[in-house]
Subunit: 331 residues, 2 copies
DNA sequence: GTGAAAGCGCTAACAC
DNA sequence: GTGTTAGCGCTTTCAC
């Protein structure tokens, strides 16, 4: 029903080999044949069937990105960075969202197992280190944004500990000493590392840790509000808050406003990620920027290198972050 | 190098046909063979190569969604709705972002032309009606969210004209009469239709149209701010604003705040889409909800039906919207 | 410079 | 209930 390479060959009066050569730009085709073939392709509106090509080549030139949640500006920016680089070098990026659900993630990983894609980048995963290491033996996978402790798999993230440290130092520099932390639960390595940075900053400034100033739950936005509600109900509420994501920070700010506080004056808040909304919030949100394009480009570049490499690069790369101060910290 | 159906057959001491039958759950396999095959698959860690299967079957069971911009909560919600339904009926959804760029969109459409996916849903497109109609002759495509005038292609959207009308009526009901409009430029059909609804609402309430109250540019968020800046600098500024997207509305609100206005009191704003951020803004944002899950499910359902149908469904479906009033309109 | 043909991994029609 | 085999569309080796 659809037109194949054979049809083109027959119509052009050449062999399928010649058509294939034209298609792939191989040398050793006379200009006259090439022209004839190109015209025939045009005339028949032929488009090569990549299922045949990919089967033959054992490669698809497609990379799958699996996101834990789709509704997150950060991930989309990273994917955009990946795409820009990948397209330049002849690859396509497709993405799918696992809703942070293991069964959905596994379903999507099947595209890797069944050879529908050449490699996968995980922006967060429910797999443990052991499973990932096992997978990496047979397939090309990489982690981005969110690392997994003990996984010897190509990984690209910011230096979360240092970034957390820097965020808190920015608050300390404003003169705040009662600083609270809103994090995700223990499964999120990035959050734990940012918490470590938070603790180190306090320690280095001789500030004791106040247990009530640490709130940890999931990344769901309502937890920002819950955290802020708890903080503001304390006898001695914090003067500043560091949240491990902009979403949590925004939700916290919203709650603070509801409770009559002026954010940036009564209480300062700094988030993490620098998503687009930061500049549209009221007040605008201070944050730690993750350089999304760079991260996306680097991880895809290394992953593609791995496709054709005998000994895979499984290193852990960190990319420089940047603290951005806006109105929510009184700037 | 990777294990194939032949390896499984050899190891299990059966033919490849039997293995294939087990794989596809066809009848006519003795329980003993089936068990043996399943064990062998497990033991060899075999995963079928879908390139072979898809080539043979002329189908991939994958649908591609092309989004004009990735960084938009609305699209992600629609994709989530698609995915939930698609997975239930044995399909996978993958997505890619065209950055509203024709060349990128064409690149992604190639996955359809080269048979890497069975169908495509466009959440906005740079193709014109004629091209779409031509494409629809040979391929399974659908539009969602954003229609194209004159395209006889399966389409699912809200009733944009009525939704615009309803949004403005909500503002009128609050007693406002000087109502402004922030829209996208003429290429966005949804925006034009919402504008028609805006105009009809004014007309039916005997309110003359004020040219200065209509601001049209791109969907880029800065235009919300620019519009608001213009409105507030008028001799007689509007009392209320209807923006065709929440992003534009948020940006407008942000600017109004900067200019010393209290949104919801000094000026009311209603957006469109009901993205997640609406409830986290300060003030929370009134809007017109697009029922994303439903839209996603419907368009995918019809598209899949089309795959196996001789006469394709190319109808235009509209799905019920809902006005949601929050603080930005003084509620 | 060109063509014939093998074969990528799989399914399904056919034969037994 | 099972096996043999053709063939999906393509690339590439080999021969000329």
């Amino acid at each position: 029903m659809s037109v194949t390479i054979k049809d083109v060959a027959r119509e052009a009066g050449v062999s399928v080999a010649t058509v294939s050569r034209v298609l792939n730009g191989s040398a050793n085709v006379s200009e006259s044949s090439a022209k004839l073939v190109r015209e025939t392709i045009e005339r028949l509106n032929y488009s090569p069937n990549f299922l045949g090509r990919n089967l033959r080549k054992c490669a698809t030139n497609v990379i799958l990105v699996i996101m834990p949640t789709a509704d997150h500006s950060l991930y989309m920016k990273i994917v955009a960075g990946m795409q820009e680089y990948a397209n330049k070098v002849g690859y396509d990026i497709i993405s799918a969202s696992s809703n942070a659900t293991n069964s959905v993630e596994v379903r999507q990983m099947n595209m890797l197992f069944n050879r529908t894609v050449d490699g996968v980048v995980l922006l967060g995963t429910s797999y443990d280190a052991q499973t990932l290491n096992k997978l990496a033996e047979n397939y090309d996978i990489a982690l981005c944004c969110e690392s997994v402790e003990g996984a010897n798999v190509l990984t690209v993230t910011v230096d979360d500990e240092q970034a957390g440290y820097d965020a808190v130092c920015a608050l300390l520099k404003k003169g705040h000493r009662r600083i609270a932390f809103i994090g995700a639960d223990y499964t999120a390595v990035s959050s734990s590392k940012r918490e470590s940075g938070y603790l180190r900053a306090l320690r280095e400034h001789g500030i004791p840790v106040t247990e009530e100033y640490i709130y940890k739950n999931t990344y769901d936005c309502e937890n920002g509000a819950l955290a802020m509600e708890k903080f503001l109900s304390l006898e001695e509420p914090p003067e500043a808050v560091f949240a491990v994501s902009d979403i949590l920070a925004m939700s916290a700010i919203r709650k603070a406003c509801e409770m009559g506080k002026t954010v940036g004056k009564d209480i300062s808040v700094i988030g993490f990620d620098n998503i687009t909304m930061c500049e549209m919030m009221n007040p605008t949100l201070s944050t730690v920027e993750q350089p999304c394009s760079k991260m996306g480009e680097l991880v895809v570049r290394r992953l593609i290198d791995n496709f054709s490499s005998a000994n895979k690069d499984n290193r852990y790369y960190t990319i420089a972050h940047r603290v951005i101060l806006r109105e929510s910290t009184g700037d």
